[in-house]
């Protein structure tokens, strides 16, 4: 397949030494194998996710994403924008939609952007990395690179909220999207078909501000994965990953549970299945080690 090129919006959490820097490492590894070129948007800024609304009004928030989109048009005008973070993808895509539907807001946004010499056309698609994998690469091609099938592993695909609603992935349902399960099967592992908490919310940013209330949600998400016999959880979102991985000890202390379930990214799974080393797959970024994947990567 010919090289595919995209304008890339990495987002704050993927930066070096930030909470999902490990996601970025495995994405880079995966993309290299699949001949996907990611061209970082020069000087991108934070999109304010879904929690910017206290300090920022509608227009300032739209302007944040609009700046990124305008910079992308300027630097790689012929390329779709791709994000790996669900919150970044959603915020940017919502901006695109809102400015498309409301020409008045678009005019105001452009007035603001002009302060920094920028202008937005708003004509390129905003896509999540999993859309690129599914739609532009395809399951068959994804599968053809597998060198070490992840046989014997049972994995719960935790889709979460924001990669699923309100936009979701084309052709998938809100209540039971199948694409993560299909990816799990593509790399030779078994998917938990009846994972009840697949699209449940983990609390998102409120895991910081309302830790106890959110941890009650997270507990159910992990418990359900165990109930379905999962060896690990896989997710497409850095916030989901962080929330379901790092609080397991606190949940154990509070509820007397014995959780120790690794939570990895789809890009981690693909990298390991593609025969990459533990380091290339960023397994060293797991707080709860994914021993089974380490063993496969070490073979």
């Amino acid at each position: 397949m010919a090289k595919k090129s995209y304008s890339f919006y990495p987002g704050c959490s993927s930066q070096k030494a930030a909470s999902s820097s490990n996601y970025q490492v495995s994405v880079d590894t995966m993309c290299k194998e699949l001949d996907i070129e990611l061209n970082e948007i020069p000087d991108w800024n934070c999109c304010s996710a879904s929690i910017g609304y206290a300090g920022g009004g509608e227009l300032p928030r739209l302007a944040l994403s609009a700046r990124n989109m305008a910079l992308s048009e300027q630097a790689h005008g012929d390329q779709d924008i791709v994000a790996t973070c669900a919150a970044c993808w959603l915020a940017t895509k919502e901006t695109q939609e809102r400015l498309h539907d409301d020409q008045g807001l678009l005019a105001e946004t452009n007035q603001a952007l002009a302060e920094a010499g920028l202008k937005l056309k708003n004509d390129k698609k905003i896509r999540h990395m999993v859309e690129v994998l599914i739609e532009d690469i395809g399951y068959q091609e994804l599968g053809s690179h597998v060198k070490k099938p992840l046989e014997g592993l049972k994995i719960a695909g935790y889709v979460g909220c924001q990669t699923n609603r309100p936009f979701g992935i084309d052709g998938e349902s809100f209540e039971n999207p199948k694409y993560l399960d299909k990816m799990i099967e593509t790399v030779g592992a078994e998917a938990c078909d009846n994972y009840e908490k697949k699209v449940s919310c983990c609390g998102g940013a409120l895991a910081f501000s309302e830790p106890e209330k959110s941890q009650a949600l997270i507990k159910d998400i992990i418990e359900s994965a165990y109930d379905n016999g999962a060896d690990m959880i896989v997710t497409p979102c850095p916030v989901c990953q962080m929330n379901t991985e790092v609080y397991q000890d606190q949940i154990n202390a509070k509820y007397g549970t014995k959780f120790k379930l690794p939570v990895v990214y789809y890009s981690t799974l693909l990298s390991v299945a593609y025969g990459k080393s533990a380091k290339e797959a960023a397994l060293d970024g797991q707080i709860i080690r994914a021993k089974q994947l380490e063993d496969i990567a070490g073979k």
């Binding site: 930030a18 879904s50 609304y53 309100p166």
Partner: protein, 207 residues
Amino acid sequence: MSYNQDMIEKYRGNFLKEVTDNVEEGDWVKMCMQCGVCSGSCPLGPHWEHPPQEIFMMIRANKREEVLESTSMWMCTSCYNCIARCPRGLPITHIMHGLATYSQRLGLAPQNQPTQKFANLFWKNLVKKGRVNELKLGLSLYFMNGFGEGIKTSLKMKDIGLNMLKTKRMSPMEYFGGHGCKDIKGLHAILKKAEELENARIGKSGS
């Protein structure tokens, strides 16, 4: 006169109109048919003073202060369950965010509400350099309830912090600088202009 007083004068008992004119996506509120699906969708449902459907009813019933001073909107996790399910297609998530923004502008937002504080810290943090500094955000979050509380929370979060450090998913160097936009001046100019334009539209002067 305060912005809040201005608005009270201007809308004199027509809170639905006030919301329609001033709240993000507020013109949708009149479309709600009170089916209650949204209220059953919020992950933190039991913790909402008034779930979304009730909020929409209260807006029509002119319960201005009760709505705007409520902690409810600050319980929204932005899960988009409601938007996916609402039979009338209301952008409920955005209306909740919009009501929160508006209550804050009016000076009516509940003080000491953790998410209200966190959301403000988040905005300040990102505006400063154009990108979020997770370490400083984390620290200011833990210390937002004062120093004593901060030490307690930090101790509770210590193990998580150590784990993040060990896996290189956090760096103490972030405290001294860290990531940011190069054209921060340009970004600030954009945000300033956007704020001015929005304030002019909603009749708010200064900030």
